[in-house]
């Protein structure tokens, strides 16, 4: 076996999302759309201006990009509907900038934890790659709320969050190998 061949596991996972993956990604898309709407709510509140407003708008756009990326992965299976439960949990805390930052940090931590759990269930590599690239940025966005307006290492490193990820079992894939009679 050459090194190049050895790079890939013997049973190469599928690139495209499986049916179970699609359900998981539908859920992930819902929480990303909830995050997009929460940032829009904060940005439209009139409590923020200039660079701070630009940052909140940027973060909202990132979540919109994630929802669109999932659209690309699951195509017609996409529901494009936000997770209302997650939205309702946080929307009431956007009233003051101080509680808003704590709430948005908690939101980002929840998304990072949820997407990480979803990643652990995905079979398809295309979705796994994209989700991994989303998770690192959501962790960064969470940490930003611990560093601004003033730097707190404890807050920046606070990753406590409950994952909302559903558990969806993968159906065993049928093998394409055939048995040849002796």
């Amino acid at each position: 076996m050459t090194t190049a061949q050895a790079r890939f596991p013997r049973s190469t996972p599928p690139a495209q999302p499986t049916d179970a993956d699609k359900q998981l990604l539908q859920f992930a898309q819902g929480v990303e759309l909830a995050a997009r709407d929460l940032y829009k709510k904060a940005a439209d509140s009139g409590k923020y201006a200039d660079d701070e407003l630009a940052m909140l708008t940027l973060f909202g756009e990132h979540h919109n990009s994630y929802a669109q990326a999932m659209n690309g992965l699951i195509g017609k299976a996409a529901t494009n509907t936000r997770n209302d439960s997650l939205y309702s949990t946080h929307v009431g805390q956007l009233a003051s900038p101080q509680s808003a930052y704590a709430s948005l940090q908690s939101l980002e931590n929840t998304l990072a934890a949820t997407n990480t759990d979803i990643l652990g269930q995905l079979a398809g590599l295309d979705a796994a790659r994209i989700l991994a690239s989303i998770i690192t940025i959501e962790a960064r966005m969470a940490a930003v709320f611990g560093t601004l307006p003033s730097l707190s290492i404890t807050s920046a490193m606070n990753a406590s969050a409950n994952s909302l990820a559903p558990k969806i079992a993968q159906v065993k894939m049928a093998t394409t190998e055939t048995t040849v009679a002796p």
Partner: protein, 268 residues
């Protein structure tokens, strides 16, 4: 009647003599001891080929552990050599905490490697050290560099980003989906380290997203440099500025195939 002329007989005879001499030269010669060395002067030292490197989940986890030890060594150097001075001295507690975080990460990935039947790897990645860390440290600590503390933080910031990218990149190669989640939990921790240092090096709301240096056009350090986590190389500007006030720039990359900690690699 025989038609062979005298000239033909001489030609055939000459060829026979030449052929015999040629075959004799190719064969063993009496009195000569056979040698493995062909047409060489002196004895050639026998070589031992490296074992075949097979990239498995265990190898990836051991490689991750090696990078964690690179970070631990770097943080220990900062603490032991008192490299944080002035305002940067306030970061001492953060540096201690992050070093401990990396030790916990190393323990986690090593435990995963052992659970898969592999060996724990408890030392730094020599190739990463030689290619990136030592050259950067040379620039950071050279005489005349007015920003040693700032530059050493820039170096650990870059190494945190390399750590994040390494784990993110491994997701596409790890065979077990559960391992992908395990390594990304570590990656998120290191992404948070990176944000703390990014805010120290280039703080404020305006520096959270991507911006570029107006003079050089190079990207500034950002807490959230892009919408999606990048896997491209990491730029690091450290050392004594030149006449145009520009620091030398190094390019750091995640471990390639010849930087992986294969099963046959041991700590020296």
């Amino acid at each position: 009647m025989n038609n062979i002329s005298r000239r033909d007989a001489l030609r055939v005879g000459g060829l026979s003599v030449f052929g015999a001499a040629f075959l004799a030269a190719c064969g063993k010669q009496s009195g000569v001891v056979p040698s493995a060395n062909i047409l060489s002067e002196g004895a050639v030292t026998p070589t031992t080929a490296l074992p075949e490197g097979v990239v498995t989940d265990t190898v990836l986890l051991r490689t991750a552990a090696s990078l964690e030890y690179n970070a631990i060594e770097l943080y220990d150097l900062i603490l032991n050599d008192g490299m944080l001075t002035g305002d940067y001295a306030k970061l001492t507690d953060a540096v201690k905490r992050f070093r401990d975080d990396h030790q916990a990460h190393a323990n986690t990935v090593n435990a995963l490697a052992v659970s898969l039947g592999g060996k724990a790897h408890t030392c730094a990645n020599d190739r990463m050290n030689r290619l990136y860390i030592q050259p950067a440290l040379k620039l950071v600590t050279e005489k005349g560099n007015p920003d040693t503390s700032r530059d050493i933080i820039a170096l650990v910031h870059a190494m945190e980003n390399i750590g994040v990218q390494t784990y993110q990149g491994f997701v596409a190669t790890l065979a077990a989906p559960s391992l992908r989640a395990e390594v990304m939990r570590i990656a998120t921790d290191e992404a948070r380290h990176s944000v703390v240092f990014a805010q120290v090096l280039n703080g404020g709301y305006a520096s959270v997203g991507p911006t570029n240096n107006e003079t050089t056009g190079k990207p500034n350090i950002a807490s959230v440099p892009a919408a999606f986590g990048s896997l491209s190389s990491v730029l690091l500007s450290v050392g004594t500025p030149n006449v145009d006030n520009l620091k030398p720039t190094l390019t750091l990359e995640t471990p390639s195939l010849n930087g992986l900690i294969y099963d046959f690699v041991d700590c020296q």
